[in-house]
Symmetry: C2
Subunit: 476 residues, 2 copies
């Protein structure tokens, strides 16, 4: 039920001080455009994966200030009664566009744009960033791990090390979008249809007088799918021999062993040989000890005999880089129907934002269907298929590139129209399939874990010229 | 409202398969003892801080399987109807002991012990670990950052980069326990009394025709406490001069500036000089750009003029080490009122657990009130004050130590008695004060960020002898 709680007050306090400020100065209904984008791909990877949009939509669709919220805010002694009344009658009225979940995304692209009364478009910053940052982080990490596993299944096993309940459940959802085959978390299946699995802990084995009895009892209760944890005492001398004995006696329909400690390359090779020798070639081997994409890559190279992986803390916290740094910046104002582009100027060129109401096109090669480049354009622009088209590096003046033999796809879809949700999230399975298909359109060089090729995210001529005109104006 | 949701199904699926297994084999009511403990202090620190107990209690107090849960489980096709009926009538019946929140804790100590029917004591593993791991992680990290700030205030600013809503809100709660002075998260104040603060984003400044107008408008609305964000355009050439002008014109009761980018040592020295020269010595300087304990320590050493820090992603995700590795292990069974100690044997000596029903005493020096050592004992043992007392290293046979001139304090308190909560959490302010006072009992050498002195966590003679007897038995 995590997704249906009212999270309206899950916001940075400054959203409220600013909202009250806009209300008091009569600026509430000034129309503003805000973009959400990120600057850096976690783990030095070549792309990230968009996720969290469904939760963002739920938040926005349920924005409501209850009496308890109003009382709390009144108690702060800094908000006008008029503003509190406005909040009591709050009705979301913004337009929202976003890149759907499962899409490979790149730095600088407007993942989400909100257009509407500044009092509202500013207010939704925190929850929007929270939802998209968290799930994009985990989906991106999960996909790295899944790709390292080269077709072997990866289960998300991290609930106990997650950062709170939504860290666990939304994390499991994002991990599934990124390509995991399931999760250990029951709530993620009940509420988000992520397949949940799990068999036994070491304590189950310890509860019985001996390992054989523990295994035999389990096999008698779960004859359909019997995965035995073989490392409570000693994998080679005790766990595997007892498992083999029980499998032969009980003949479960599906059988597997899980190893949760020790040197998995050595142990799985040994285990595979023992199982095969016993005629149990169909018995699968699951490994679940401090895995991530690097360790998985290494043990596969070393010839470890593993059918699937359980990945815990290093996935659910994205341990090697636990932050997805999405930001939310003002891109424009609208006065009398005319958009006045805004941008943040910085000494650091990478922190200069792109001005105006924008969208993103992905250009695909007509022959190979591979993605060639993304182009950020002003929203009113279109890109005719096939014709020669020139794209411009956001920072470096002399870097431009002509593309031909392509077709273009606008990556963004409308999500809210004047506060009304006009988008229906696909099923989680559809999102996961879409994600896989989209990653298949990326060149292999972009998929490297280290030093990937940097994918082109360029600007259209019109946006490039607007940006450089504004920079020149600012310098004067 | 995050804390009142029913989280019963926020559990690893294997807790359910094992529960059904115990039910089917008639072992449900076998009495088991489980300990939660951790093995490694995050960031190589000298101690961690216990947190999350209040949320753990809420979870346990609200354990209930609803129709929706039962239907979901029935749909899995692997659970007996008898078991589902048991869940429908589930009533928590365990005894629970724990170390209160805010206490400095060390590896190997039983932070929580659960005694009760194995079907229940096993089931609560996941949510218990989730609650304690998450908040202990953040409280520990926050305390490092707070200590680095040497008396300057530290605000938690990380909501937008947290791992989900409970990552943000429970994280803000834990950060406050660890010594932060407040949070940016409004929901954390509404629900957990963590003081929330916040003023403006860059977009506020950009919404106006110029910076001066943006500042002046803000000061007119918030004359009591006016903190201006001075780095939207240029801190030295524009932000500070405009802030000074507005402060002089508007004379807010409290005034401050915030710098969110750039070289904070250089900028804050320059800003301080400009403010002082303008006669605004009382204007405070807040800095909020990618801070953590190391950067804070460095900029203070370099003489940066900072009155308080806002710390975002590196605190709320504990970026440098985002995992607190608490585990939950079987420590004993009870048959006919007699406890049969259990332990997990491992080739890796650090993974060998301590057997039996245990507690933890902290021994304080009678003269200085400083903590000398912790001793894990069997629960029935007592430690008479002052008398000479010998403690034993858990692994190394020849390492033992005699303590005298001390008084002993049992760190644990009863939390549940046969399923009934018998503990009332202190207020968050009390927990925070308690935490600070307890850290003051630690020797300075333990407080170092790198290479701290390793605090003694030894065993009583009785527990040591029991442990080694079991190891000998196992080896035979």
């Amino acid at each position: 039920m995590i997704e249906h709680i009212n999270m309206t007050m899950l916001t940075d306090f400054y959203e409220l001080t600013m909202a009250n400020g806009y209300f008091e100065t009569g600026m509430s209904n000034d129309i503003a455009y805000f973009d959400m984008f990120f600057r850096k791909i976690p783990d030095g990877g070549g792309f990230a994966i968009a996720a969290g949009l469904e939760q963002m939509i739920n938040y926005l669709d349920n924005l409501k200030f209850y009496d308890r919220d109003i009382e709390y805010l009144r108690g702060k002694g800094m908000f006008s009664e008029g503003f509190l009344e406005y909040l009591r009658n709050f009705k979301f009225e913004c337009d929202v566009w976003a890149i759907p979940e499962g899409t490979p995304i790149f730095p600088g692209e407007p993942l989400v744009t909100v257009r509407g009364p500044v009092i509202q478009a500013q207010f939704v910053e925190t929850i929007m960033l929270l939802a998209i940052n968290h799930q994009s982080l985990i989906a991106t990490k999960a996909n790295r791990i899944v790709r390292a596993a080269k077709g072997r299944g990866v289960m998300e096993f991290g609930t106990r090390r997650a950062h709170g309940g939504s860290g666990a459940v939304h994390g499991a959802r994002a991990a599934y979008i990124g390509g995991c085959i399931g999760t250990a978390c029951a709530l993620a299946e009940r509420d988000f249809d992520v397949p949940a699995l799990g068999t036994m802990a070491h304590s189950w084995v310890q509860m019985f007088d001996n390992e054989y009895e523990a295994f035999k009892t389990y096999a008698s209760i779960y004859p359909e799918n019997c995965v035995l944890l073989v490392d409570t005492y000693n994998v080679i001398r005790s766990g595997i021999p007892n498992a083999i004995k029980v499998f032969k006696e009980m003949k479960p329909a599906k059988m597997g062993i899980r190893i949760d400690s020790g040197d998995v390359t050595y142990l799985t090779k040994k285990a595979r040989a023992m199982l095969d020798k016993a005629g149990l070639k169909e018995c699968s081997i699951v490994v679940s000890n401090s895995m991530d994409e690097y360790i998985i890559r290494d043990v596969i190279v070393q010839g470890a005999c593993i059918d699937s992986f359980g990945v815990g803390e290093r996935l659910i916290t994205s341990k090697s880089e636990p932050v997805f740094g999405g930001v939310y910046k003002l891109a424009g104002l609208e006065k009398d129907g005319v958009i006045i582009p805004k941008m943040k100027i910085s000494e650091n060129v990478e922190k200069i934002t792109n001005p105006g109401f924008k969208t993103v096109y992905r250009l695909f090669d007509k022959d190979s269907d591979k993605a060639i480049a993304d182009v950020i354009t002003l929203d009113h622009e279109s890109i005719p298929d096939g014709s020669e088209y020139e794209i411009f590096d956001p920072q470096i003046v002399w870097k431009r590139k002509k593309i031909s033999n392509f077709y273009a796809k606008n990556l963004r879809v409308p999500i809210f129209d004047k506060g009304v949700c006009v988008y229906k999230s696909p099923s989680i399975g559809e999102i996961r399939d879409y994600c896989k298909a989209q990653i298949d359109t990326l060149w292999e060089e972009i998929l490297r874990f280290e030093n990937p090729h940097e994918y082109y995210v360029d600007l259209s001529k019109e946006l490039w010229e607007l940006k450089h005109k504004l920079i020149e104006e600012y310098k004067e």
